[in-house]
């Protein structure tokens, strides 16, 4: 049962501190209020009781024995009137003998029970009203007489209410001040925590520099130190991974280049015609091997873990599109494809060579799958604030149900021709993700072929956060320049 609310509401040191300080403060203040109240009320009660006692003694002084030895109250009516006179309360009195029989005054007025003091005092009810009664017991020749004087409690209640409300007002004010002081104190005490939290929140996801320790309070210093060690480890392993991949790229490419170039030369040597066919096959295999190696290494290096250390810099998409088209003029011409570019200025924050690889893969796919005599166009520009780069072809197209799957590694579309590694679009997806770009895949213009567009984040937005963002692939193609 306890875990349910905890899971809904995260634990908070501030709330905890506040609650822990608040409860005792309220209790202490409440105790203070009560003590103030009783301290203030007691003298008033004593004074009022005393005046009742005075009245009782005055009445007692006026009880005399008549000729028959019977006790009689010899108080003149004027004196009775004075006794009963009070601005807010009604005063009652009663004189009774030892049997409880009324001698004078108000019948049925309750007596205060005997106690260790004489006169004794008590709270009672009379005529449906609360009263305070004082009973004085005196011994005469005619036996014990009880003289009770009582009054309603109006002025007592009034005084009590006054004292209570004024002491409550003061104490509530005190409570308010205490609450404010606690709130401010807790806030100030936790300020260094908040500072650290904000420092972490404001960091870019790729920032692996250690957090400064100078202003970190000792209570969480070890946490921040652990965090810094973690940053350091991640940073070192990212650097190591990147170095490893760069070295692997270098180590693999050089022998592949040698094998490929030697096979090319041997295959071109017409003097040795008998082996030409086998050499051509080996050359094709070597090229495929080189291509797949390149794709695998690019894919590994576009992976976020290897990219924590990539700096996103200003990249001009126009230059990338120019390079890509220029590098593929001969290939496109051989395939009988009309390769073209539509270049408008477009700048993004990114990694140039990765964008080059990604868009190059899109262009390679388009050229490979476009039938002879059709167009392949590479475009870049800005539409509604978002930079984009797009490759369209008028080939067979990719069936809608395959459009998501072709971005997975080693998956090739059912209409794919030739020998591809199946990594090209996976690279496109990784690179898009790294740049916070979204991928749109749709039919080409005229409803034929394929059009793949990378939409980059709007320039005014903060730079893309490498691993927080996920490249989304949409197939609606709603946004089209």
């Amino acid at each position: 049962m306890r875990s349910a609310p905890q899971s809904e509401r995260p634990r908070s040191i501030r709330r905890r501190l506040f609650a822990l300080l608040l409860l005792p403060s309220v209790l202490v203040l409440a105790a203070g209020t009560l003590s103030d109240y009783f301290t203030a009320v007691t003298p008033f009660r004593e004074a009022y009781d005393q005046s009742l006692i005075d009245g009782a003694l005055a009445v007692a002084a006026n009880v005399h024995m008549d000729a028959n030895g019977e006790p009689k109250l010899t108080l003149p009516p004027e004196a009775v009137a004075i006794l009963r006179a009070d601005s807010s309360d009604t005063i009652y009195f009663r004189v009774s003998d030892s049997t409880g029989a009324l001698i004078a005054g108000d019948a049925n007025l309750p007596e205060a029970p005997r106690s260790h003091t004489n006169p004794s005092r008590a709270d009672a009810r009379f005529l449906d009203e609360p009263i305070r009664v004082v009973s004085y017991r005196t011994y005469t020749n005619a036996g014990m007489l009880t003289i009770s004087v009582a009054e309603t409690t109006h002025k007592r209640d009034g005084v009590r209410t006054n004292i209570l409300s004024s002491s409550l007002a003061v104490d509530l004010m005190e409570l308010g001040i205490v609450l404010a002081v606690i709130a401010i104190g807790v806030r100030l005490a936790l300020a260094p925590l908040r500072e650290v939290r904000e420092q972490i929140a404001q960091r870019s996801a790729r920032d692996l520099a250690p957090l400064p320790l100078e202003r970190v309070p000792v209570e969480i210093r070890s946490i921040v130190e652990t965090l810094n060690r973690l940053f350091n480890t991640v940073s070192e392993s990212a650097t190591a991974q990147r170095r490893f991949l760069e070295s692997a790229a270098h180590q693999l490419r050089t022998p592949l280049t040698g094998i490929q170039a030697q096979l090319e030369l041997m295959a071109a040597d017409e003097a040795d015609a008998s082996k030409q066919q086998r050499l051509a096959l080996m050359l094709e295999a070597a090229r495929r091997l080189a291509h797949t190696t390149q794709q695998l290494l690019t894919l590994a290096r576009s992976d976020e873990a290897a990219n924590l250390r990539w700096e996103l810099v200003d990249v001009n998409l126009a230059v990338i599109v120019e390079n890509i088209v220029a590098d593929r003029v001969v290939t496109a011409d051989r395939a009988g494809v009309d390769l073209g570019a539509e270049i408008r200025p477009a700048a993004v924050k990114g990694v140039g060579w990765l964008l080059n690889e990604a868009v190059g893969n899109l262009a390679n796919n388009a050229i490979a799958h476009a039938p002879a005599g059709t167009q392949v166009t590479v475009r870049c520009g800005v539409h509604q604030g978002a930079a984009f780069v797009e490759v369209t072809d008028s080939g067979g197209g990719i069936p809608p149900e395959e459009r998501e799957r072709v971005f997975e590694r080693f998956v090739r579309g059912s209409n794919a021709r030739g020998t591809g590694s199946g990594l090209g679009l996976a690279i496109v997806r990784e690179v898009a993700q790294l740049h916070g770009a979204t991928i749109d895949m749709d039919r080409g213009p005229n409803g034929e072929g394929t059009s793949v567009t990378l939409w980059f984040p709007v320039v005014s937005a903060p730079p893309p956060r490498a691993y927080a963002s996920t490249a989304s692939i949409s197939f609606a193609g709603a946004r089209r320049p």
Partner: protein
């Protein structure tokens, strides 16, 4: 034509040397910057092909040293790295072109020819391009000894394309090469001149149109 290949990988170095020999160059192969320096000290070369990743002194340092000593020999750099920054650094240091491994042999030869042509166009007004011979001083082109009848504008466009062979030349650049002070020429005029040039060149060279970017001339041998 003498070419020097500086490459530490024996298989790649041998392949490049063989390719250059097959392309009509007298090519030598050394495996280190030190060996390259002594070779350059002993002889003159028309072309240098330098791998960036050499042991000890790397290719970049070698080229920087050459340029610092005033050597103007054209340099093509080879690299197994794919950072765009390498390309910029290499070109800034004084390399004339840059090729990423793995490359294809015809591409390597085309780049080498382009480098030598560019170097020669400065030194001597006579250059060859595939089956074409150019006399830059007299603004004349010939195919197989036959002089081509070219108008001034056709010549200007052809010259502009050939001096940038293998690279795309934008329509605007071609337009500015033929535009006169007092004449407005529509961009479409470029298409007309290119079309006429194609007819006149026949099989001597290939002018490709790249939609949205411009034109590029290639020798027929590498165009296949």
């Amino acid at each position: 034509m003498r070419a020097l290949v500086v490459e530490d990988d024996p298989l790649v170095g041998d392949a490049v040397r063989r390719a250059l020999t097959a392309g009509g160059y007298a090519a030598d192969h050394v495996a280190s910057a030190e060996a390259a320096k002594s070779a350059l000290h002993a002889e003159d070369f028309d072309l240098l092909i330098v791998d960036i990743g050499l042991p000890k002194e790397d290719g970049m340092q070698l080229v920087r040293g050459l340029r610092a000593r005033g050597k103007v020999v054209p340099v093509l750099m080879l690299t197994a790295r794919d950072g765009l920054s390498d390309r910029v650094t290499a070109l800034d240091l004084g390399a004339d072109d840059y090729l990423t491994k793995p490359f294809q042999v015809p591409e390597l030869l085309a780049r080498c020819r382009a480098l030598i042509r560019r170097a020669n166009s400065i030194a001597s007004p006579l250059i060859t391009f595939g089956g074409l011979r150019f006399d830059l001083a007299h603004k004349e082109a010939s195919v197989g000894g036959q002089k081509l009848e070219l108008t001034h504008r056709e010549w200007s466009i052809l010259e502009c394309l050939v001096l940038n062979a293998g690279h795309i030349v934008s329509k605007e650049k071609l337009l500015s090469s033929i535009a006169n002070w007092n004449e407005d020429i529509s961009p479409n005029a470029v298409e007309v001149y290119v079309s006429r040039l194609r007819t006149k060149l026949g099989q001597a060279a290939l002018i490709r149109a790249v939609r949205g970017m411009g034109y590029r001339i290639d020798e027929i041998s590498t165009a296949k």
